[in-house]
Amino acid sequence: MPDTGIGASVKRKEDFRFLTGQGRYTDDIDRPGQLFAYFVRSPHAYAKIKKVDTAEAAKAPGVRAVFTGADMAADSVGSLPCGWVVTDRHGEAHKAPPHFPLARDKVRYVGDHVAVVIAETYAQAKEAGERVEVDYEELQAIANPVKALDKGAPQVHDEAPGNLCYDWVLGDEAEVNAAFAKAAHVTKVDLVNNRLIPNAMEPRAAIGEYDGGTDSYTLYSTSQNPHLLKLILCAFVLGISENKLRVIAPDVGGGFGSKIFCYAEETVCTWAAKKVRAPVKWTAERSESFSSDAHGRDHVTHAELAMDENGKFLGMKVETIANLGAYLSSFATSVPTYLYATLLAGQYTTPVIFANVKSVFTNTAPVDAYRGAGRPEATYVVERLVEVAAREMKLDPAEIRRRNFIQPDQFPYQTPVALQYDIGNYGASMDKALEMIDYAGFPARKKASEAKGKLRGIGFSAYIEACGIAPSAVVGSLGAGVGLWESAQVRFNATGTVSIFTGSHSHGQGHETTFSQLVAETLGIPIENVEIVHGDTGSIPMGMGTYGSRSLAVGGSAIAKACDKIIEKSKKIAAHLMEASVEDVEFEGGKFRVAGTDKEKSIAEIAFTAYVPHNYPPDLEPGLDETAFYDPLNFTYPAGVHIAEVEIDPSTGVTEIVDWVAVDDFGKVINPMVVEGQVHGGIAQGVGQALLENAVYDMDSGQLLTGSYMDYCMPRADDLPSFRVGMTQTACTHNPLGVKGCGEAGAIAAPAATINAITDALGILSMDMPATAEKVWRLANQHAQAAE
């Protein structure tokens, strides 16, 4: 194995610029003559806009323009679309009320966009923003997703009676009822999957620019998927010809899903750039990120698991109310349906499953995909149910899982909730995790903790995810408005270096390194001769971007395919140069050889010949530049077992995570260092959800109570331990690299492991996230009193 090839922990190529302050994020970019946008936002969760008076603001110093929803309507700017149509249980499409970039008749959440002020400096725009007079008629808001379904609840949209976006089902209810009728035991849980605010450290930003000479636009944006943003803006919102908009997503400081979507601000900056004939820049203040980035999770669920007398799962029923917020964000509808209920089989052979999801509108910020997107919610349901079942059945939590694991010889395995898992070995991950945590030693550790006055608990989470989203035909049949393939262009330069243009986007994942490793090994060239180009629709082929742990499985596979095309063409050139037949040319380690001879040509020589084709096959095009599109045959199914050990101080309720073992099967691994880093970060976000993070709205007023880092608790270094990460490996069967994806695993596995450990320590069955110190203290005290 070369030290820069597949499987090597190559140090990241992108780090030098980040470590020396030379990263180039959107806010670091200034365009000549640029103006600044400030958004006037609704202070109310729900109100009618009776009048917007911009006259005073327009007169303020430095102000070039003030625009409202009416101005955008006059320009026929469309609604921000939701790109996934979910068909409800009655065969009807989900309710899709309009979502205008600047509100037209009503504001529907605190932070909703009412007007934009464009001025020479940001301070001027912001000061003028205070002079925009909005006459609101306040309406009673509804923030609670469960109560939103009540009769008589305030109606967020006329188009969605009863605030219901859709009432959706998956699975066969009759079969599930029959299974429950035969059950020896039924475990029931009621769960809240707490609402989270993504909080990528780089706030969203955009610079819209218009070139009157060519009637074309450029948008710099903090996007995870610049082509998708371009497509949505052109085809659905702004009516710009797609060849007239270039979207550039430069260095992006974290996304976690929140930068997938097409937002009002970047839409307005693009549109306004033409109106004011100057670049228009906007950078979110963190308070704006809190109020108007798409939030994540926010489910209320009742779930039941039927078992036989041995703890073998017979069937599962899940009813979920999912809060979608005030408007449908770009992919909001798919998250609590196809990315959630399809994962309810987990790693288990549960033969029948029925899920019912009611997604509702409320007067809160839109909710969409956040790291894991549906799959953390599914894992939380499954792994909480299984844990409670084990306790009720007095079975060891590892044992009940083992009894129900899909066995290695059962793959490919068709679940009752639509997915077909290609491969896995769940028992192997469990074995390794138990060994790493020293499960047998747990009782002794618990005793030692007790001696210190602490309560110790252990919690398991055996998760599975569907990643590498995914076969276009499948997602299309389920309602997706786009294909979910990926593209890559491999361009040899004449001097033998290679530029890779990928539709994937790196915002922390390290593609510049891992994709380079892949190419360096495949083409047999030094890694430093590979350059990864991403993020600029002006240079990369149409691509779908990065989310759902898809970059390597889908984008990497596209690169592999394009490399194959390069090799195939190179063989023809090599055969010509070496006067051999193509069939006799072999390629290995960057060299083309004629079998059975000592003739060889390096791939660099071939590239040179391709561009300087003086001696060249007559029927072959010059150049060595190949593009490939890869559309996966299936999702990939990373899976694993995480085990958390916690210690609780019953006097304060403070939970300390004292040990964490993660054993994941991501298939083949390109760069273990990068993969472990992804696991660490995912766990931190999952632990954050379980212990600290909670987006809280006042249920009456709809005001966001956790609108800054003073109140929304981000995990810090001293909240977390070091993690112990192990791996098992079954290679994905259907992509050329055998890879599965690793970006979301930690966030998917961690919440259930944490809560299972805490409830184990407390000797209780259930509690809601986040397990704040006060909540744990109350439960510990009740527990202590009950024990007395």
Binding site: A123, T652, V696, D711, W777
Partner: protein, 264 residues
């Protein structure tokens, strides 16, 4: 942030003159509270009087058996000061737990107490150690200085110049931090010394307060056992999404025990 006129006087007198000469002047010490407040446009002073250039307000000295800390001395300077660490380690520990390292490098004792945030640490330090606040006009016992939430005994043209701490026989500070903001949800300073036995609580209520039951219990013998039975009532304690009054009452009793144990 709205714009303002920035003043950087070199003396206390010049600072007072700048303040009284302004339409709506504000004093800025380290700026750790004022600047975020201005950023959020929660205040719009016409003038900001920056005390950063007044050398006389910085520094720590021992004077007549007391430790005197200049108002513009940073938390980091207090935490690292050899005299403070030797004479009142509890105070060094308190200063070392304020905010984060960067806040401690800018934030000052004078700014903290003049702001009197109900969740700040220093008010418990001053009251719990029986300190005296020195201003440009007078000396104010800590017990009289903190008058209510964000309220102090300072007059409009009065500046804190120093704080004088008697050296206790023993003292300790125990804090339960808000996991998000890292301010005190509850902080308890206990001491025994020239000012008697003192127990001061911050974070729990709208203003720092002394816990009389605990003081009298400790008066009979300064030990963790002595405060074991002190019942802390939740009446009048703060209740918010971070902690209910009941939980705060529990934390007061737990932090009290920890502080007493740490004081030895």
């Amino acid at each position: 942030m709205y714009d303002f006129t920035h003043h950087r006087p070199a003396s206390v007198d010049a600072a007072v003159a700048a303040l009284t000469g302004a339409d709506d002047g504000k004093i800025m010490a380290g700026g750790m509270t004022l600047i975020p407040t201005l950023k959020q446009r929660l205040a719009s002073p016409s003038d900001v009087v920056d005390l950063g250039a007044i050398a006389a307000l910085k520094g720590i000295k021992e004077e007549g058996g007391a430790i005197v800390i200049g108002a513009m001395t940073t938390h980091a300077a207090v935490a690292a000061n050899a005299t403070v660490k030797a004479k009142i380690p509890a105070l060094a520990h308190l200063a070392d737990g304020i905010g984060d390292p960067q806040v401690r490098n800018r934030g000052t004792i004078g700014g903290s107490i003049a702001n009197n945030d109900p969740a700040a640490d220093y008010p418990a330090g001053l009251v719990g150690l029986g300190a005296t606040v020195v201003t440009n006009k007078r000396q104010i016992p800590a017990d009289d200085f903190f008058t209510g939430m964000f309220e102090t005994a300072l007059a409009d043209d009065e500046l804190v110049t120093a704080v004088s701490f008697p050296v206790p026989e023993k003292a300790a500070y125990a804090k339960f931090a808000n996991p998000a903001s890292r301010y005190a949800i509850v902080g308890v300073m206990v001491s025994k010394g020239p000012a008697g036995v003192r127990v001061a609580v911050t974070g729990a209520a709208p203003c720092v307060f002394r816990l009389a039951e605990a003081e009298s219990a400790l008066g009979g013998g300064f030990s963790a056992d002595a405060v074991g039975k002190v019942k802390v009532s939740s009446d009048g304690l703060n209740s918010d999404m971070h902690a209910s009054a009941e939980y705060r009452a529990n934390l007061v009793s737990v932090m009290l025990k920890r502080a007493v144990a740490a004081a030895g």
